[in-house]
C-alpha cells in the first residue's frame, strides 16, 4: 500500500503555546472550574429534562419504530452524560452510559426489552434525588444496572 508522508509541520497552536505570557495550569483550571460552577444549576435542570424525556418514551409496536425510539433513548442518555460530565456526577454518567451500552448492543432483528429503558430512567431519577451522603444506596443502584448489562449484553464493554 502506498504511504504518502507529509512533512512534519508545526501548527500555529504549537507556536502560540510557548509565547511569553499566558497562565499557569493551576490558574487555568481554577478559572475553568469557576466558569463551569456558574453552569451547575442549569446542568441539573438539563439532566432532569433529559431524564423526564427518557421516562416518557413508550415502547413501539414495530421494529422500525422501535429503532427510532431507541435512538432517541440513546440521545437522551448521551445528553445526560454531556451535562453531568463536568460536575463529577459520576454515578449519573455511569447509569446513562450503561443504558447507552445496552442500546448499542441490542440486536436489530429482535424486539428490545423496553423495561431496560424504564429501569434506567427510574434509576436516574433516584440518583438525582438521593442525598450526596447516600453513597451505599448509589452504589447499589449502579450495581443493579450493571447486572442488567451483564444479563442482556454479555461480553459488552462494561459487563466484565
Amino acid at each position: 500500500m502506498t504511504v504518502i508522508t507529509h512533512n512534519r509541520r508545526k501548527s500555529r497552536l504549537s507556536t502560540l503555546i510557548d509565547q511569553p505570557g499566558g497562565v499557569s495550569a493551576g490558574v487555568a483550571l481554577a478559572q475553568a472550574k469557576a466558569n463551569l460552577a456558574e453552569m451547575e444549576a442549569r446542568s441539573r435542570a438539563v439532566i432532569e429534562e433529559q431524564v423526564a424525556a427518557l421516562a416518557a418514551l413508550q415502547p413501539a409496536p414495530t421494529l422500525e419504530e422501535a429503532a427510532r425510539l431507541l435512538d432517541r433513548a440513546y440521545d437522551h442518555s448521551s445528553a445526560v452524560i454531556d451535562a453531568a460530565g463536568p460536575f463529577e456526577l459520576k454515578d449519573l454518567c455511569a447509569a446513562a452510559a450503561n443504558l447507552c451500552d445496552l442500546i448499542d448492543a441490542a440486536p436489530e432483528d429482535r424486539p428490545f426489552d423496553w423495561r431496560i429503558v424504564t429501569v434506567h430512567a427510574q434509576a436516574l431519577r433516584l440518583l438525582l434525588t438521593l442525598p450526596a451522603e447516600a453513597a451505599e444506596a448509589r452504589t447499589q443502584v449502579l450495581a443493579s444496572l450493571k447486572d442488567v448489562l451483564k444479563a442482556k449484553a454479555p461480553g459488552g464493554p462494561q459487563s466484565a
Binding site: I17, G22, S43
Partner: protein, 191 residues
C-alpha cells in the same frame, strides 16, 4: 489516534502556557454541551471564535477562515463528527486540513470505534471528563509533532506511537521536554 490514557504526562500546576490568540472552533449540536466546552476552555485563556451547531456550519466557516484548534462532538445529526474530520483532512484547505482536532464523545457506539480511529483526528476524549483532562489534551495536541500520513483511505496524524528508546543523542524537543519534566517530577518526590 491516541486514547484517554495515552498521554503519559500530567500537567504540573506551575506549567505555563499561552493560548491567547488561538483561533478556536467548537462544533456541537447540543447548545448546552457547546457552552460547557466554551466555558471550560475560556478558563484556559482560549476564547472560542467559531461556535457551530453542525458540521455544515463549520465547513462554511473553514473554507474562509484559518483555525488553530477544533473541538468537535462525535455524534451529530446530519454529518457526524467522524465524517466531518474525514472531510477536513481531505479538504485541501491550507492550513485547516492539518489543524489539531480533538473529538469529544459521551459514548462511542461499537460500530463507530474504527471510524473514531480512522477518521484522522488527533485525539478522542470520552466523557465524563474533567477540565484538567481537557486542558491536558489541548496541551498535548499543541505539542503533537507527528507527521501526517496518507495511507489508503486514511489521512491524518501518524497513528503509530513508538515507545522504543532512541539509542543515539536525543534531539527531539518534545522528548527532551518530557525527560526534563520526568526528572523534575522525580526530584520533587524525593524532596
Amino acid at each position: 489516534m491516541r486514547g484517554m490514557n495515552g498521554v503519559g504526562e500530567s500537567l504540573r500546576e506551575s506549567a505555563v502556557f499561552n493560548f491567547n490568540g488561538a483561533v478556536t472552533m467548537v462544533i456541537d449540536d447540543s447548545p448546552f454541551a457547546l457552552e460547557l466546552t466554551a466555558q471550560a476552555v475560556l478558563g484556559f485563556g482560549i476564547k472560542v471564535r467559531h461556535s457551530c451547531s453542525s458540521a455544515a456550519e463549520a465547513i462554511a466557516v473553514l473554507r474562509d477562515h484559518p483555525v488553530d484548534l477544533i473541538l468537535v462532538d462525535c455524534e451529530m445529526p446530519g454529518m457526524s463528527g467522524y465524517e466531518f474530520v474525514r472531510w477536513l483532512r481531505r479538504s485541501g484547505l491550507e492550513p485547516n486540513a492539518f489543524a489539531p482536532v480533538i473529538m469529544t464523545a459521551a459514548h462511542v457506539r461499537r460500530s463507530k470505534v474504527s471510524e473514531a480511529r480512522d477518521c484522522g483526528a488527533n485525539f478522542l476524549i470520552t466523557k465524563p471528563f474533567s477540565a484538567g483532562v481537557l486542558l491536558e489534551r489541548i496541551v498535548w495536541v499543541a505539542r503533537d509533532a507527528r507527521a501526517f500520513l496518507e495511507v489508503g483511505d486514511y489521512f491524518g496524524p501518524d497513528r503509530r506511537f513508538r515507545s522504543e528508546p532512541w539509542e543515539g543523542l536525543e534531539r527531539r524537543s518534545e522528548e527532551i521536554r518530557k525527560a526534563e519534566f520526568e526528572a523534575q517530577r522525580r526530584a520533587s518526590i524525593e524532596l
